[in-house]
Amino acid sequence: MIPELGHYALVLALALGLIQAVAPVIGARTNDAALMGLANSTAPMQFAFVGLSFLALIVCYVTSDFSVATVYENAHSMMPLVYKITSVWGNHEGSMLLWVLILAFFGALVGVFGRNLPSTLKAYVLAVQSWIACAFYLFILFTSNPFRRLEQAPFEGRDLNPILQDIGLAIHPPLLYLGYVGFSIAFSFAIAALIEGRIDAAWARWVRPWTLAAWMFLTAGIAMGSYWAYYELGWGGFWFWDPVENASLMPWLAGTALLHSAVVMEKRNALKIWTLLLAILAFSLSLIGTFLVRSGVLTSVHTFANDPARGVFILAILVVFIGGGLALFAWRAPLLKQGGLFAPISREGALVLNNLFLTTACLTVLVGTLYPLALEALTGEKISVGAPFFNLTFAPLFIPLMFAMPFGPLMAWKRGDILGAAQRLTVAFGAGIVAVAATFAVASQGSASLAPFGIGLAFFVMMGAVTDIVERVGLFREPLSTVRRRGSGLPRSVWGTALAHFGVGVTLLGIVSVATWASERIVALKPSQTISLAGYDLTFDGLAQRAGPNYREAVARFTVREAGIPVGLMEPSKRDFASRTTTTTEAALMTRGVSQLYLSLGDTSGDGSISVRLYYKPNVLLIWLGAVAMAIGGGLSLSDRRLRVGAPKPAAKPAMLPAE
C-alpha cells in the first residue's frame, strides 16, 4: 500500500501544480487577489505531497520492499540503515524524486516567506516555479516512476552499487541538488520580471538571497563530490573534468557571475538586462546538467538514440524552458529600461570584468563538454575533450580573474582609483612576492617553473582578502577601540565576501601544491617490507580478513613511521560484495596537518606480495577547506540583515514614525 500511497501523493502534487501553474497567472492578469493568493497555499501543499511521496519511497527502502522495482534493483536487506536511506537517491528514479522534492521545497519557501514581494510578482514567480515542477512530475510519472511494482516480489534485492555505499554519497547529491534547483528561483524571478516588463534594484535584492543560498549549497556539493571521488575512487585525483563534473561546474560558474552582477544591480541599478540573462542561464545550465547526466547521451550519442524515451522527454523540457526563457528574454528585454552608467575603473567595472571571465570560463566548459557530442552527431567523427584541454584553457582565464579579484572590493562604486587600490594592496603584493621567492628557494628541485607563481598568486589573493577587512576597520591606523567598533559595525556581507575570496586563494594553494609536489610510489610488497615516501616509512605488517555487514574485506595493515617514530596505522582494504560480485578498493588516508598520505591496494600475486600505490599529497586538504570557506562566506552574506529572506523592512523605519 505504501508505494501506491507515494505514487498517489505525487499525482496529487501534480494536480496542485497544474492549478498553481494557471490560477496565479489569471489572477495577476485580472488583478484578482484571491486567485493570486491561491499560490501561497498550493506551494507549501505541493511540498507536503511531494514530501509524503518521498517519505513513502524511503519507507519502501527501509523495509526492503522488493516488490518495488527500484528497491529490488538498488537495495539489499543486509545493508546498514543509513545506506538503505541513501540508496533512495542512488539511482535515476529516486534522484529525480529528490530533485522535485527540492524544487517544491524552494517553491514553498517563496510561498511562505515571500510576504514582502509585490503580489503580482509573487504570483508569476510561483506560477513559473510550478511550470517547472509540473514538467518534472510528468517526467517522473511517465518515464521514471520509482514506485513501479514487480509482478512477483523477489526474495532479495540486487544491492546498491558498492562504490555508492559511502557516507559521502549520502550528503553529496542532496547538497548538489539544493544548488542546482535553487537556481530555479532566480529563473522564475527573471521570467516573472520579463512577463511583468518591470525590473528594478528591489528585484535584485529579492533574488540575491536565493541565488546566494543556491550558490552556497552548490559550492559545498561540488567540494563534497570532489572529496568523495578523491577517497573513494582510489586513484587520488580530485577533479577529472569528466562531463558529469562539468555539468555541476557550469551552473556554479554562471551562478558565481550572477551573484556578482546582482550586487551591481542592487547597489547601482545597472547591468539589469545582463543579470536577467544570467539568471536564466544559470538554471538553464542546471537543466542541461540534468539532461546530460540523466539521458545517457554522455555514454554515446548512440545509446541515447537506442533508448530515447527519457532523453527525449528531458530534451523537450530543456527546449521548452531554455528556448522559451531565452525567446521571452529576446522579446521583452529590449523593452526594459536600461540601467545606470559607470566608469570602467570602478567597483562595477571590476565586477563586469569578473562576469566576463566567469562566463567565458563557463562557455569553455560548455563547448568542451558538448563539442564531441555535437561533432559526432553531425559528422560522425569522434574526438575526445579531456583534462589536458580544460587545464590548458582554464589557466589563462582564471589567472587574470584571480589577480583582479583583490582589487574589486577595494575600489569605490561609480569611479574607482586603481592606483589607490594597488597602494593598499602593497602588503598583499609583498606577501605574494615573498611566497614566490620562498618557493623558488625551498622547492627548486624538480618542480615546474610556473608553480612558484601559482603559490605567489594564492598568497596575493588571500592577503588581498585580509587587506580588505584591515582597511575597512582601520587596523594598524586607528586605536583598538575604534577598530573593534568598526569591526562589529561592518555588514556581515563584507565579512562574507572577504572569507569567500580568501577561500579561493586557499583552494588555489592546495591545487598548485598537489599538482606540483605530489609524489607517488607504485610497488609490490611482501609482509614486513617497507616503502618510503616524502619522509615517511610504511611497513607492511600483513593481510587480514574481516567481515562487514554485506561484504567481506581483505585489510592490509601498515605501520607508518616518521623519522623512525611510529605515527599511526594505515589500513587500506579491498571489499568483496557477493551480491554484485564486485570488488571495491577502500583507500587509507592519513592526515598530517593539511597534507595527506594516501594508500590504496592493487592485486595480490602468487608469491604473496601485494601491489600498492602510495601517494603523498601536500596541502591537499586546502582544496576543500578553501571551498568550505567559500560556502561559509556565502552563508555569512546570507545572514546579513539586509539580505535576510523575508526581512527586507529597513530597521530605521520605526524611528521615523513619529515624524509622520
Binding site: L341, P344, A524
Partner: protein, 158 residues
C-alpha cells in the same frame, strides 16, 4: 549530479575485475623515461571508458596502451612519435586534447573569441561614455518646455 552514472559505467566496462591503474610490473626502470610515459598516459584516452585517461583507468585495454607507450618510448620514440603512432592506430579519439584543426576550430576558437569580443565591447563602451565633461546636447524646445513646467508649476498654465 553525483558521479554514479559515470562510476557505474566504469564498472560495467571493466568486467575483467579490478586491475588497478599502473601496476608495479609496468613501471620502467629508467626514471626519466617512466616520467615521460606517465605524462603521455595522461594525454591519452582509455577508449572504452568515459573520459578517463589511460593513466587513471583500470580497464585492461588501458593497461595494454600503457605498455605500448612504454614499449615505443624504450625503442627511442619521441613523445610526438608515440602520439602519432597511437593516432594512426586508433584515430584522434585517443587524444584527450584534440589537435587544432578545421573540425575543432570552434572548440579552440570560441573561448578566446568570446573573451576578446567581450573585452573589445567593454572597451568601446567605456570610450563612448568616458567623456563625462563633454557638454550634453542642448535641450530641444519640447524638453525645455517640459522642464519649465516641472520647475515652475505656474508655467503649466501657459
Amino acid at each position: 549530479m553525483g558521479r554514479w552514472a559515470f562510476v557505474i559505467l566504469i564498472f560495467a566496462l571493466s568486467i575483467a575485475g579490478p586491475v588497478r591503474a599502473v601496476q608495479p610490473d609496468e613501471v620502467l626502470k629508467d626514471a626519466t623515461l617512466e616520467a615521460r610515459a606517465r605524462n603521455l598516459s595522461r594525454e591519452l584516452r582509455c577508449m572504452v571508458c568515459q573520459n578517463q585517461s589511460i593513466d587513471d583507468s583500470e580497464a585492461p585495454l588501458a593497461r595494454d596502451l600503457r605498455l605500448l607507450v612504454r614499449e615505443r618510448l624504450t625503442k627511442g620514440d619521441s613523445d610526438q612519435q608515440v602520439l602519432d603512432f597511437l593516432v594512426a592506430r586508433y584515430g584522434e579519439f585517443v587524444l584527450l586534447k584534440p589537435p587544432f584543426e578545421r573540425h575543432t576550430l570552434l572548440l579552440w576558437g570560441l573561448p578566446p573569441l568570446v573573451l576578446m569580443g567581450g573585452l573589445l565591447g567593454l572597451w568601446m563602451r567605456a570610450r563612448r561614455h568616458s567623456s563625462p565633461h563633454q557638454a550634453p546636447d542642448a535641450l530641444s524646445e519640447e524638453e525645455q518646455r517640459r522642464l519649465s513646467t516641472l520647475v515652475d508649476p505656474a508655467a503649466r498654465d501657459h
